[in-house]
Symmetry: none
């Protein structure tokens, strides 16, 4: 273990975005955490088994076939007790539900800052603070609503774009455009 604080958290960072992963890793290390970065599902499993991390940061949309979602179970298998925090740039209610149901401990939407990540990792504001039903003076924007629904349907069809488009009654091309077009703030 590190000589820093108490028992340092051993964090396995799984993200195919090397740039983002490195920055985040550096930020976490500066705060005394032990971090190992991997960019592929296979490497993630391998490290989880060999290194026995205590926490994991998992990017949902690894651009490979295996979604981050599919990685949750194997990771928990490889390292029992692992506290997995899912991180994603394309957050949606549907994927949130799926992630938590599969065993993730928390779920964060990019962009996030190091403090927020650490808080989530350690489980702060987890079961403690109540999000206090937000009172947005504003309804879910139509865009947001659409995004959520698309994610839901897409998930129902296992990520099959063509099928989802058909099911949604819109052109595949349009769905594609909608999909890669959304950073979507909220």
């Amino acid at each position: 273990m590190s000589a820093t604080t108490t028992r340092a958290m051993r964090v396995l960072l799984v993200d195919d975005d090397a740039t983002f992963a490195d920055i985040l890793a550096r930020a976490l290390r500066r705060r005394g955490l032990e971090v190992v970065v991997v960019h592929t599902p296979d490497a993630a499993i391998e490290r989880a088994t060999a290194w026995a991390p205590t926490h994991a940061l998992l990017d949902l949309n690894l651009n490979c076939e295996t979604s981050g979602l599919a990685l949750i179970a194997p990771l928990l298998d490889a390292a029992p007790g692992l506290r997995i925090t899912v991180l994603t740039g394309y957050a949606s209610i549907a994927t949130t539900v799926a992630a938590i149901q599969r065993g993730a401990a928390d779920y964060l939407a990019k962009p996030v800052d190091a403090p927020a990540v650490i808080a989530a990792l350690s489980g702060h504001g987890d079961d403690a603070a109540e999000p206090a039903v937000e009172a947005p003076g504003q309804r879910m924007s139509l865009k947001r609503l659409e995004w959520e629904h698309i994610q839901r349907v897409l998930a129902e069809h296992d990520g099959n774009i063509s099928e989802a488009a058909r099911s949604l009654g819109l052109h595949r091309r349009t769905l594609q455009r909608k999909l890669d077009k959304r950073p979507v703030k909220f």
Copy 2:
């Protein structure tokens, strides 16, 4: 399980919005579910204890102090094994995480249609696969969904188009056009 009726799901619907609750309840009953509607946390606990429902639909933002979130644990206490599905008009990642961590089985953002609710109730997200795509035209939603949401927001603003437009984050002119375009076949 209740062998009397065809193992019908006994659903406890907790929602302070009487209108919405009634409509939903009717829709569910028409599909063969047993539904009991309550409008307050206290009544919810009471019914959960006395009636022993198998499923619960819980609106997150009951406009009382006790958020729906806080009701999850007591409900699970009152009726062990209860499958709680959270329903809310103010969906957010944070509340989603909180709800599921507290024991909710699923989380849906309004507006939703009866089929979606039933799917969630029966736990399609857990293990069941749903290759059975609805009939064609079922998912024309994007438009329908938008329409529903617009109506909801419009109603909440007492029909004030300008205000609703502002709240929805779109131009008044656009809202007008969207409004008079729909022949609205419900």
